[in-house]
Symmetry: C2
């Protein structure tokens, strides 16, 4: 019987602050990092990987939290673990002592996410399927059973969720065939980091068009006049047929957000992302109502499905941007995808960072195959950066993510990366 023999956690850090890649109004100097978990098994060819993405300081604390949670799985048999991952998900999220440290938020909740994503990486690898396919092959009742409905049922209950999934069930195989043929539209954030000068912004916008992207996104929020000027440059470069989104990274208060969005709406915005504090679901609803019909997008910092539920109940977002490592992993993410579908809100995942594209694409493809009302409306963030560090880098061609084919959850880093960028002992940091 195969069992989990050890849990290894590595503090990986990449010196991205040196180039201002990834700079925005809230995060001027991120060092993209990952608290990276490997669950070794008694089968030497089978390791489960998961991680929490962070932006530098504190990655050691996150790594310690991942190790504390993961240690509980060591010694357990794989058959039992993978037959009913909901059982271990419940055990970890409802551990009363660990739950006190949230509940369901922050370092401890994200640690559960790394562990649960590693468990699903094992399951998919053992099935020989990419994670999106493992999920898409579940029957509606099985998908519903993955979700912890305790705090969600006043908005969406399990019977409604199952009914919704049953309605889509007959389309699944044809949707997968279309995704295999056409992939899923990527949108491009690389053009508009705040640290880039005007020439670079103009050049990258034109390059994005040439590369086939139909949506580009700019960072805003540090200075409104400057945002206006940069949006002018971008809109000139891309013309009127390409969609233009902006991301304020939480920098505005509610009244500031309303004023800024009303001012910038003239650039025909596809969406406005993270206008204010991610916990402020009421504030998002106030903003969305005031700036209608400009769509509000948020979600990469939503700590749990209970907050997502409220955001959707209040109409605070027209786009939900799930993140693969912000919540407690697969089970929370499936919950958020179902809640969004019930609300008629598109799921357009957050990616970028390091490893986030590789991990979150599986949820985007699962949503497109099994849940979303209209897959043609979906897109998914793409940043052309650091993919060489992943074992199975995303394939993005012609502005589209291509359907992943390799087994697993996309959460494995390249072995050479783990050696070189381990902090502070790796070769890169010793130099």
């Amino acid at each position: 019987m195969v069992s989990i023999t050890s849990a290894t956690v590595t503090d990986l850090r990449f010196p991205t602050s040196q180039t201002l890649d990834g700079s925005d109004a809230m995060n001027p100097d991120p060092d993209y990092s990952a608290a990276y978990l490997g669950l070794s098994t008694s089968n030497p060819d089978l390791t489960g990987c998961g991680f929490v993405f962070t932006i530098g300081r504190g990655n050691d604390i996150q790594a310690a939290a991942v190790a504390a949670v993961a240690d509980r799985l060591v010694g357990r048999g794989l058959d039992e673990l993978l037959e009913d991952p909901s059982a271990i998900n419940r055990e970890l999220t409802w551990d009363s002592q660990l739950r006190w440290l949230g509940p369901d938020k922050g370092v401890m909740h994200m640690a559960v996410g790394a562990v649960m994503n590693a468990v699903w990486d094992l399951r998919s690898k053992r099935e020989g399927l990419p994670l999106w396919a493992t999920l898409a092959h579940l029957e509606p009742a099985e998908v519903v059973a993955l979700v912890d409905w305790t705090y969600l049922s006043d908005f969406l209950d399990p019977a409604q969720a199952r009914e919704m999934l049953e309605e889509r069930r007959s389309e699944r195989d044809s949707r997968i065939a279309a995704l295999r043929r056409d992939g899923l539209a990527a949108y491009n954030t690389s053009v508009g980091w705040l640290g880039y000068d005007d020439d670079k912004l103009d050049r990258l916008c034109r390059q994005a068009l040439d590369d086939g992207f139909s949506t580009v996104k700019l960072k805003v929020g540090a200075d409104l006049a400057e945002d206006h000027r940069r949006l002018g440059i971008a809109r000139s470069a891309i013309g009127s047929d390409t969609a233009l989104a902006i991301d304020a990274n939480q920098r505005w208060s509610v009244p500031e957000a309303i004023a800024a969005i009303q001012h910038l709406a003239q650039f025909d915005l596809r969406w406005v992302e993270e206008p204010t504090h991610p916990d402020d679901v009421v504030g998002h609803a106030t903003i969305a109502k005031a700036v209608h019909p400009v769509p509000i997008a948020t979600g990469e910092h939503l700590a749990n499905p209970t907050l997502a539920k409220q955001l959707l109940q209040l109409g605070g977002a027209q786009i939900l941007q799930i993140d693969a490592t912000r919540v407690a992993g697969v089970h929370d993410l499936v919950a958020m995808i179902l809640l969004a579908a019930h609300a008629g809100v598109d799921v357009i995942p957050h990616a970028g960072g390091v490893g986030l594209c590789e991990a979150v694409q599986h949820f985007a493809f699962f949503n497109a195959a099994s849940v979303a009302a209209d897959p043609s409306r979906l897109t998914l963030e793409y940043v052309d950066h650091l993919h060489e560090h992943m074992s199975c880098p995303v394939e993005v061609t012609g502005g589209r993510y291509r359907l992943p084919t390799q087994p697993g959850a996309g959460t494995a880093f390249h072995p050479a990366t783990a050696e070189s960028f381990a902090y502070p002992e790796g070769a890169h940091w010793q130099e």
Copy 2:
């Protein structure tokens, strides 16, 4: 010039799970614990103390986070630090890399709280005042300047807050004189832990009356029929003149909470605490509306003032239960006290655990002296447990907290405790 010379963090754990003291429907077996910080200074008689209360597992992760944040203060001069604590509060809460791990929630945010409370412990000790007096002696403009208004001003702006404080200013000295004479009403939670049998419940209720308490609280939420039965025992024991509150510790969904509260309302409930997930401000508002006029209380797990703002905006709580170590310390707590006053909601702090009574009483007395519209309506949780471990234990006589007189924030543990209950190396855990 006095400066901070070192930051020492101790993982303190107490074996409370052995006696079922503190048992409730969510937390069946807590081991009350503290990630305990001491900021040593170059003045050997001056140490700043702060802590995060936890209930066992994960206290080591919390301690590591406190150490990571506290290390940033080592080497800094005390004059600069204490002259403008808002500067260091901003530096710690807006550190973009650490903020990614929340934002403003969970392990990292509570770590900032331990550090900021230790900074204020230093300030009060240097002034020779208890923390409540340090705060009560600030002028309205100084109190307003402690708060980070970024995400709050759509509900309460600094000018409104100052006006509210100016209105109370003339009453301050007479309020303090009354508090010095009469203290502040305590309410008693020790009677009703779920792990206690009927005889013990009955006996402790009668004892609470004899001890002068005017409110007692029972834990509920595991089984509605059992809750009904136990409330009957309690109401018989205390009669109709003593207030009876219940605490569900987040165990209900929104519809379950409504049904349960409607069923239990016959026992004339002073309040119903934590009916559902603490992040569900919309759910709290739904519950409060459905069970009106039964007051809903929550707050001990509210991660930050942005969530408190929304709870109050939506009318989700009629009582706000601040906790001394759940948020980022003094600055967040002052914000929450001002928001509650603006909403016309009473602040009735959460205490118990270990050290929480000693720490939070300062905020209750500050609120009563300088902020609350009607101090006579206020009360404060009391659990007669583990006070011997604190350097300055609370004084509760005749059912009332007595005004603290010793300098500092009440956050210092007894030196013998730190030696004995340090985990796992302390004498107690080695036995």
